[in-house]
Symmetry: C3
Subunit: 344 residues, 3 copies
């Protein structure tokens, strides 16, 4: 941790100060828990009342508010807060091990400058690894893999043969990238493996969460576009294309040969069936099941997933089904009585 004055933080995030610029900040905290010596932020207007009562020394806000805390006015308080957290706490410092004698690095592997390859990591034949990479213990990098600069592969991550990884890519622990796609030709009741000759491409700035499983393509490649982030335990099918700058929340799954555009957000446990096209900037609510193509900009929820406004009203009415049925029966009885009366 690095102490900073409000002035230093404000300068760092490009803000404007209301209050004492010289006061010292030691750490960052959430609005609810922040106390003296801490900086916090207000992003969601519904929490504005909490800023009035916060014990934080400083708060990042988008406009002047009622509060005793020192205010730093910025355009995007959440982004500024991220910058402040980096300034005060920094990103994880990786151990400097160099290339450990307990690692297994193939003779034909090309390793860039300033890499740390830890004990019990394996770098296979004909791999190419860029500069400043961190390969943690238990990582397996298969043959013919290419990895760019400034990547971090956390413990026990596995990259299968031939996959291509860009710059500044992070793969968290126990994730698998490039295992065989789930592809079998069923003949006379037996399932025969189709060689999966495609690879996985992770473009620059991708992050793959812990326990993720990203299948290689059968014939075409599987692609995770630039800047996209996969939460933990996300499953990606063979030949699937995830566009740039998507966010896939933990336990989401996208089946084979599906395509997502750019800036899509899939909530937790969402499922997308194979061979469909999800447009750009689509938002899918947690646990939804997407079974059809989705137009650009749509927000959908439910299983099957439909327009969110429609769905929120509709799915909430499921619990009224017993009443609906009862009402329908009562009405039917009444109508039959009326009809009988009228006939007579």
């Amino acid at each position: 941790m690095h102490q900073k004055t409000v002035q230093e933080i404000s300068d760092h995030v490009g803000g404007r100060i209301i209050g004492d610029a010289a006061v010292v900040i030691e750490s960052a905290a959430t609005l609810d828990s922040a106390g003296p010596g801490q900086v916090t932020f207000l992003s969601n207007p519904k929490y504005a009342p909490r800023v009035q009562t916060t014990q934080a020394t400083a708060v990042l806000v988008s406009k002047k508010v009622e509060t005793n805390a020192c205010q730093i006015i910025v355009e995007d308080p959440y982004y500024a807060f991220m910058q402040a957290v980096v300034l005060l706490h920094g990103h994880r410092q990786h151990p400097q091990t160099g290339i450990s004698k307990q690692a297994s690095v193939a003779g034909s592997a090309k390793i860039g400058k300033n890499c740390n390859i830890h004990a019990f990591a394996v770098v296979s034949e004909n791999t190419v690894i860029g500069d400043n990479c961190h390969i943690y213990p238990g990582v397996f990098v298969g043959p013919h893999v290419t990895i760019g600069d400034d990547c971090v592969l956390y413990p026990n991550a596995v990259i299968y043969d031939g996959c291509r990884i860009g710059h500044r890519v992070i793969v968290q622990s126990n994730a698998s990238v490039g295992q065989d796609g789930f592809g079998f030709a069923t003949h006379k009741g037996e399932h025969h493996k189709i060689p999966q000759i495609g690879i996985v491409i992770l473009e620059d700035d991708v992050e793959i969460g812990a326990g993720c499983v990203v299948e290689r393509g059968t014939l075409d490649n599987t692609l995770i576009g630039k800047g996209s982030k996969l939460g933990d335990s996300v499953a990606i099918g063979h030949g699937t294309k995830i566009g740039p700058h998507c966010l896939l929340v933990p336990q989401a799954g996208v089946a084979g040969s599906a395509e997502l555009g750019h800036h899509c957000v899939l909530g937790g446990q969402v499922g997308v069936v194979g061979h469909i096209k999800v447009g750009n900037m689509v938002k899918v609510g947690a646990k939804a099941g997407v079974i059809n193509d989705v137009p650009d900009g749509a927000t959908i929820v439910g299983t099957p997933a439909i327009d969110a406004n429609k769905a929120r009203r509709a799915y909430a009415l499921i619990e009224t089904l017993p009443e609906i049925r009862q009402k329908l029966r009562a009405l039917d009885k009444q109508v039959q009585r009326l009809a009988g009366d009228q006939e007579t």
Copy 2:
């Protein structure tokens, strides 16, 4: 396996015998499969008829039943059965390897008495590990981690830097504890990682299933309370608090900053959205999607999750929707005819 007489088992579980106390039991089995030389149990009254026909030599029951088997009467037959299984079969015996020369243990790490640290396990700088721990091959224990006594970390489990683990904690294979939370500040279409400076705390007697993914907190810590058990492939978000003595069945997920009280049970594939409060002793049916705060003691099912009694009737009626619509149309037609007749 250790042979025991019915008397010895009964003494061990604090029971009362009806039948021959001297007969020998060799192993434990389920009610359906138990045969001669085996002990079984009756917990769910609906299986009572099977006790009459069981081939088991002995059966643990809560009250006298009709059966040829020797009966051991106990208050809680399932708990007594667990004790009998331990008595007859024991828990897993861990290999005694000491600290393997093929392990990588940092000079600054403090290791308690009687620990087994296997080949290819990594214990990083400034970790503290208590007595009688088993660290299996491929485990990674990050810097500044603290682990209590009598813990077992199974192969390829990963504990990230700074996490704190209590006594008697079990982490199954390929589980990840303390990886970065899914936290990004999106600015001008790009997602920027927020340093995740919180840790994960696993309190005493916690078990983490194989393939689980437990994120570290962004600013606050992620907490798994004393005695809680996570099944396989459970995902826990950053800053989430799971109270003590909860059971989370495999593939359940709890998003960031959600809170569960004590003694909650989440069924398989349940999803809990972020930032909500689930009370104490709440039961959530398999596959449910919990999107709102839940009061103490509630039992809920479905997506969105609602009161179980209501939900079971309501969700089962979804399949009648075609009939409901048809009936409604027929009724409408009839009413319009009636209205027309009345007018004339």
Copy 3:
């Protein structure tokens, strides 16, 4: 890659050629992306129009079609295509490392002929491994495990003590087989582990996807039947029996003591509750929740899962619930008016 003539491919798959048998094929591709020098296939009749315009040099079809490509007529084009992909591209070539000096192989382990046991793999006491097996880095094979011939365990796969694996079994990276089942006896608010003394049996030709979690049985064994294939991140409960030749798509889960017959297909994210029987040749649509026994041959979808034809109509009507309710109210109002009129 191995170049082949159309004649050679046709001979290999038992086909009949329409066109130039001497033309050379270099690789296989999908119908959409195939170009000159490539072979593709038509399996789903709805894509027939694309065969007319394909740039592929050859196409595997079940009957003569309109196309400029050379045609190879076969009974089962998808199966023939699989054979052609194997002929042209082959299955993955595994590195020949022999038994690495950096592996840890117990003295009492019996290793068959021609095995490759990579660096940092662990083979524990009293294991038996057949011929021609590939044990990749970071794999843990526990004590008393038996593995047949021609198996492949990919990096960081974990096989717990005592499990039995047949011939030609593949376990992908970071999968766990045989960890403790989720079995606890709850007594006075605390959950006590029941020793899980069953094992996991993987029969011949089984494949276990990356990140899968297959629990050992409590008392009975967990079984994955001959030829069954589990996609990535599939969870199998303790004592569960999966019949032969099943396909479980990624992120599916089957709870403890459930039974599946032969040739079942579970879609992605399907959940099957414990202690139920799913018949033979049952198909379960993606994301379905199966809560009751299922008869042979059924196709079911939805949560709760019901007959697919019924379900597709019913679940699609959820979005009309607001209209249904509105219509019902309007009708009710009208009927009450009619009833009032009639009374007067």
